[in-house]
């Protein structure tokens, strides 16, 4: 018997990340030099004392499966509990892909029941934040809530992008609107729920019977619980939290790690972010290198300039090459004299000599045409070639003679 287990929704395709999610699920996208997005909720779980996590996958799970493996890097290889990847499956009577977030949980009721938990924590695999779920659980218990939703104050201008709560003086949720045009409040749902399992189980079964339902937590389960006057409370969170569902937000969240005034500290020993890492030698900066305001990890070799950028493992930056305001994922090779500006290079991209990727906004004539450029996994950009700002390329780019 476990008091609280976590279910992590990791099935989304993340189609707004384009070239980055062609071959892997969004939660498996590399982040912050040596992590993947999913490391954040997983590390939060173990740091919060939650030792049982189900990960719901269905889109391109190969990389994610291999990455999670037995859960050892997160100390989640436990005798009872630990981490379990849960794909959809066939049953004696019919079979289905996961239809929505709630349906994904519904299809795994047996899994959850096998731990006989009192509470279930629902997480999603596409947010970057550090949070002590144990405190949220205490809050849930103290409030005697049926469901507790973690909320964050967002700028009023952004309310139309979130699920927005209205609460009474005691923090009890009185209204919930998905992406309202005109919001009543600026308390946004962070997509983190704690349910009393018996209660959730009943609502999942009821929701499944409703043929018209889209089987989604935000659209169906929460409204249904509100309608029948269950006790839903908001748990106010203060701190760093970012949805990294778009190229811009992914770029920003990475860059936030370089900003000392942003409260997201991966060097903090008391709340480590765990990751599965390959065996790589220390990195090496030569006498030619110029590195400032950067994160660099093992296996890198730098002879060029790296500024306001993040190099993942095993990245090579040649002499005279310049990497600025960019995120360079594992195994990329940036040859001599190449320039990378405001770009995200996916794994194993090769940028040949003298090629130029992206642009700096201050050099644009038409600022509307400027944006972060993305180069997909394994792409080679030929010598002297140019890839413009905002481009999303997943094919090799030929040499320019």
């Amino acid at each position: 018997m476990k008091e609280c287990i976590a279910m992590l929704l990791a099935g989304g395709q993340g189609s707004r990340l384009y070239a980055l999610t062609q071959k892997l699920a969004k939660p498996a996208v590399p982040f912050g030099g040596k992590y993947r997005i999913i490391d954040f909720p997983l590390s939060n779980c173990v740091n919060s004392g939650i030792d049982t996590v189900g990960i719901l996958t269905q889109y391109q799970p190969l990389v994610l499966n291999e990455y999670i493996g037995n859960g050892q890097p997160w100390d989640l290889d436990r005798l009872h509990g630990g981490v379990h990847v849960l794909p959809p499956y066939k049953k004696a009577s019919g079979s289905d892909w996961y239809k929505g977030t709630a349906n994904a949980i519904y299809q795994n009721i047996n899994f959850i029941d096998s731990y006989d938990p009192e509470y279930v924590l629902i997480l999603s695999g596409d947010h970057i934040y550090k949070m002590d779920y144990a405190k949220m659980l205490e809050f849930h218990k103290a409030q005697q809530a049926d469901c507790t939703i973690a909320v964050l104050e967002v700028p009023w201008a952004d309310t139309s992008r979130f699920g927005i709560m209205t609460t009474d003086a005691d923090g009890v949720i009185t209204r919930f609107e998905e992406k309202p045009k005109k919001a009543e409040s600026n308390l946004a749902s962070m997509g983190i729920y704690i349910f009393s399992w018996k209660k959730l189980r009943a609502y999942l079964e009821q929701d499944e019977e409703d043929k018209k339902s889209t089987n989604d937590f935000g659209k169906n389960i929460i409204p249904a619980m509100l309608d029948s006057a269950q006790r839903l409370v908001a748990y106010p969170f203060e701190g760093y939290w970012k949805d990294v569902g778009t190229i811009d937000s992914l770029w920003e969240a990475n860059m936030d790690l370089l900003n000392p005034s942003v409260p997201l500290d991966v060097w903090d020993e008391s709340w480590k972010i765990y990751a599965r890492t390959p065996a790589q030698p220390p990195h090496h900066l030569s006498s030619l290198a110029h590195v400032e305001n950067a994160m660099i990890t093992e296996g890198c070799e730098v002879d060029g300039e790296v500024d306001f950028s993040i190099l993942f493992s095993n990245v090579h930056v040649g002499a005279g090459a310049v990497v600025r305001d960019s995120i360079v994922m594992p195994g990329c090779v940036i040859e001599d004299g190449a320039q990378i500006n405001y770009a995200i290079l996916a794994e194993n991209v090769t940028v040949k000599k003298g090629a130029i990727i992206g642009a700096r906004p201050e050099h644009m004539e038409d600022i509307e045409k400027w944006g972060v450029c993305v180069v997909g996994e394994g792409v080679t950009v030929g010598p002297g070639a140019k890839v413009g700002p905002k481009a999303m390329i997943s094919q090799d780019v030929k040499e320019v003679l």
Binding site: K34, P278, A279, P282, S286
Partner: protein, 372 residues
């Protein structure tokens, strides 16, 4: 991965005495090296890469840090149900402290006899290298030798003189003379402390040597019986560093500031495994100046650093100037510090405004846990 059909036996405490500063609280095998490794990592990873799945480690003293480092052996894929890593402490199986290799091996004879592998590789940890154990084994099998000793051609140094085993070989490779602590100068064939033989040969030798009171494998068994025991040499010509004293330890680290050396010792396709510490990437702040450094994860670099090997979790404050140093794990260098030719052991703190300086030939050593 080939199945090598060989088991490994590692001697972590051999040669402890050559670097007493670093082995005061640890074994030679657990001496930190190259930013993120311990010396034993090179031995274990090399063996595992060659398909060895069963390794015994015979410890003698000061081995708590080695046990912490090795854990269950998982990081080297040696946390196994069948075979895997096994640590043998001296008083674990009896109350006497062993003497020499033979004594050590006698204590674990039952373990060696119950193994399934045909061959045994004995290995010390004082030579850092990228030895291809699979090739060594092939050569051993092909030559028909009883024992094959891996060696390097090395210029004799004063430090090596009282801690070496040197070989003289016939053109066939068969060892004609085996000398202990030979003091001849010039280029010599020095044993790497890596010996291959059949398991049967080893167990028979242990039994007969032990009953005759012999404890030194090279000196008392091999050197005196080269006419009856077929001993062959295998020359290793790859990158290596031989740790023979503090100066050679410093040099061995410094050599890794040359990228070609780093790549030869740690080639991309032959990973060296070590204990995972879950460190964040290195953070280089605005205004830092870093030239020619080898840096492991978890560091925060705000100052000026040149020609340094920097281990995991080191912090170097603003305005500090650190040159020609080896800074081990969790060394904290406060703002404004100046350091030149210094070796800091683990968990050292250098407080604000200090100056510590050695020279190219004599490095200042700051011992584990101290605050300067």
């Amino acid at each position: 991965m080939v199945n090598l059909n060989a088991m490994g036996i590692v001697f972590p405490n051999m040669h402890d005495s050559v670097i007493p500063d670093l082995t005061a609280h640890r074994t030679m095998a657990s001496v930190p090296f190259a930013g993120r490794y311990r010396l034993i990592d090179f031995v274990l990873s090399g063996m595992v890469l060659a398909g060895v799945q069963n390794v015994g480690v015979i410890v003698k003293k000061n081995y708590q840090s080695l046990m912490d480092h090795l854990g269950s052996g998982r990081e080297w894929d040696l946390a196994r149900k069948r075979g895997g890593l096994k640590i043998f402490p001296p008083s674990g199986y009896s109350s006497y402290e062993y003497h020499g290799r033979i004594g050590a091996l006698k204590g674990i004879l039952a373990y060696i006899e119950s193994a399934k592998e045909k061959y045994v590789i004995l290995a010390d940890c004082d030579v850092v290298c990228d030895l291809d154990y699979a090739e060594l084994m092939e050569r051993h099998a092909a030559s028909g030798a009883d024992v094959t000793i891996a060696y390097t051609k090395e210029k004799m140094t004063p430090a090596l003189m009282n801690n070496n085993v040197s070989l003289a070989m016939a053109p066939s490779g068969r060892v004609r003379e085996l000398m202990i602590n030979d003091e001849q100068t010039g280029r010599r064939n020095l044993s790497m402390g890596v010996l291959v033989m059949s398991r049967e040969f080893l167990t028979e030798t242990i039994r007969s040597a032990y009953s005759r009171g012999l404890v030194k494998f090279e000196q008392e068994i091999l050197a005196k019986n080269l006419d009856t025991i077929k001993v062959y040499g295998y020359e290793y010509t790859g990158y290596r560093s031989r740790i023979a004293d503090m100066a050679s330890y410093f040099d061995a680290n410094m050599q890794l500031l040359y990228r070609e050396n780093l790549n030869r010792l740690l080639p991309e396709d032959r990973p060296v495994y070590t204990k995972v510490r879950d460190e964040a990437p290195v953070r280089y702040t605005v205004g830092c100046k870093v030239k020619n450094c080898t840096v492991a994860d978890g560091c925060i670099i705000e100052g000026e650093v040149e020609n340094c090997v920097i281990f995991r979790g080191v912090t170097i404050g603003k305005g500090a100037v650190v040159k020609n140093c080896v800074l081990m794990q969790n060394t904290a260098v406060a703002p404004g510090v100046r350091m030149d030719y210094v070796i800091t052991d683990k968990d050292v703190t250098i407080t604000e405004g200090q100056y510590l300086g050695g020279t190219r030939s004599f490095q200042v050593f700051v011992k584990k846990g101290s605050t300067v």
